[in-house]
Symmetry: C2
């Protein structure tokens, strides 16, 4: 019998945003790795690639030419998962097991820069600010469409995350329903707010700032931290300090503080394994259903797959799929490692 | 305005086992793929590999030699995610955000065969029967340990599923708590049973057999089908026709029928892309908490990542992680394709 040591002993942690547990096995980071290695592309990219369907002036799959855009550029996805068609549908309520309903929506692609070779950490803060403004505009425009109740802004970065084109870009899938993960978060935020009249994340950020050990970066308006309940080895979350329910409520100062922390966090990511660090990121914010959402609190998730090096990732497979998410390194340790990364991008470091 | 066509229009389907929705975009299977290709190993494996730590007689990481085993062989994982140590723990109930508790458990490895080169589809049915009997024994032995309330049997097959050794093997993680995914299923099964006095899957299998379009294989005691709410392109589930709550309740005939359907299903999988088909599989069955579980109904999930070919997989990334699972081909289409696969393994096919 020994006393519980959260840094050493296997344990479960609770994620209050989605009401799920994660298994943490701190000691397991020591096991050797004989499995699959990811291939990383070390080729340096051109500023403009004539073959790239996202570069300015080039032709896309549907035959349309991209404009000679100068900052960010948005277009409707040529292979959209959602469609705008209005569908006539009579629900068959007898079906216990075969419950289905049509879903209306719009998928867009957001090019972050005309430059084929520049990802977020290498862009100027002012360029990132203009991406944030594009996200604001899209959230407003799409959210204003009558049947759109949720706008999911996200980025898949790196081929290991299913991204098929290195040109820096993200996506937006806007739709009628709250997606499953968002609905879970919505319910948690709502019940916390109803009880406490403060947002869950307002209180959580305060609690984390007091402890300090999971904070990666802090500025006047935002915090980047490894959540206590993080699943992925270097998962982080950017949270606003103020209870802001959506990106369109940012002040000018907040837009700029957010752009800064985005750059700083992604620089640390790239520096971790001296590679263009792959991840999926996404913004969770208030639904666009026309109601006020004081319970919602703007946050952005980063789910990076890498575990040990630029080529060894964490596999979320058998046990994780059938049982629950499992991690091999504590969130505190990950936060410490990320904190220690230099603030200058490795490509620009003076050697 | 057009009428809803489930084979053509984007829609959401509901999974009553875990109460979650999945987005289905049938039309999207047509998009071209320019992203990452998986590497597949086409080298033929030796029957015995002197370097393999799972082969009979060889030495493992902890210096112990494997016995000269003849059928299946079980040992405690040398790099276990769970530990058997009893931990003293006083819950700090003040923590709303930092909820953690120690987890006690045992991780085991189950070698399926002394042969380094034989996966399930290529094994004899009698050999698969002996694996099923090993699973029965482990479920009993581990389940009898006082602090073990759940026994998760699973297999990660193929390097794309994080499997680091091609020697055919699965794993068992047994622990005190019901893992997150199992708890969700448990709650659904329980509330259905309490209301209907039949198991959810008993009624579901009957409903599926009536429709027919999602059935891949059926024998006297088991059905292999693509669930109406499947997430992965070629996801399947093997379900017992009878309401059996756990593997140890199988009759001798059921053991053999289960071994047969396991072989038939994995043959179809291999034949689909003429490759050793990767997947994670896992058995969901009654908790081992000492109570009766009439609501539980034995089933086995297969989550294979491949989408288009032996090298192109489905990426569950940005939207799927932030929003909800999304699939590009309907479950009905997948079931049809799997049904059409030959019953003889491609390696043994007469050309
Ligand atoms: O136990 P293994 O085979 O070393 O590891 C594999 O399966 C485990 C259980 O699903 C996962 O946690 C690991 O990420 C994966 O690489
Ligand atoms: O839309 P893309 O970049 O073609 O596709 C990528 O992102 C989508 C949204 O996360 C996923 O559904 C796809 O599996 C992935 O390959």
């Amino acid at each position: 019998m020994k006393n519980f040591d959260i840094n050493e002993d296997p344990h479960r942690r609770f994620n209050p945003l989605i009401n799920e547990w994660v298994l943490v096995s701190p000691h397991r980071a020591k096991r050797p790795w004989q499995g699959q290695n990811e291939s990383i592309s070390t080729e340096s990219l051109p500023k403009h690639d004539p073959e790239c369907y996202l570069c300015p002036g080039n032709v896309r799959a549907n035959g349309v030419n991209n404009p000679a855009y100068k900052s960010s550029f948005v277009f409707d996805n040529d292979f959209a998962a959602l469609k705008q068609d209005e569908i006539i549908f009579e629900e068959d309520i007898k079906h216990t097991f075969f419950k289905a309903k049509p879903e209306q929506g719009i998928s867009r692609v957001v090019c972050f820069s005309p430059r084929h070779d520049l990802t977020l950490p290498e862009m100027e803060v002012s360029d990132i600010e203009s991406i944030v403004k594009t996200w604001q505009k899209e959230y407003t425009d799409l959210g204003n469409i009558k049947y759109i109740n949720h706008v999911q802004i996200f980025e898949n970065k790196g081929s290991v995350m299913g991204c098929s084109n290195p040109h820096p870009h993200g996506q937006i899938w806007a739709q009628s329903s709250l997606p499953t993960q968002v609905e879970k978060t919505h319910n948690s935020l709502k019940s916390y707010y109803d009880k406490n009249k403060r947002t869950l994340l307002e209180d959580y950020v305060q609690a984390e700032l007091k402890v300090g050990s999971r904070i990666v970066i802090e500025n006047e308006h935002f915090v980047a931290l490894v959540p206590f309940w993080a699943i992925w080895p270097y998962e982080t979350m950017i949270v606003s300090k103020r209870a802001i329910s959506k990106i369109t409520d940012f002040s000018a100062e907040e837009v700029s503080a957010y752009a800064k922390i985005l750059k700083q966090l992604t620089i640390k990511y790239d520096n971790l394994f001296n590679t263009s660090f792959p991840y999926s990121s996404g913004i969770h914010q208030a639904p666009t259903d026309g109601f006020d959402h004081p319970e919602w609190h703007f946050h952005m998730h980063f789910y990076p797959p890498l575990l040990r090096s630029a080529t060894v990732k964490k596999f979320m497979v058998g046990y994780e799929m059938m049982g629950e998410s499992q991690r091999d390194i504590t969130p505190e340790k990950s936060a410490e490692i990320l904190r220690q990364q230099a603030e200058v991008h490795y490509k620009n470091a003076v050697k």
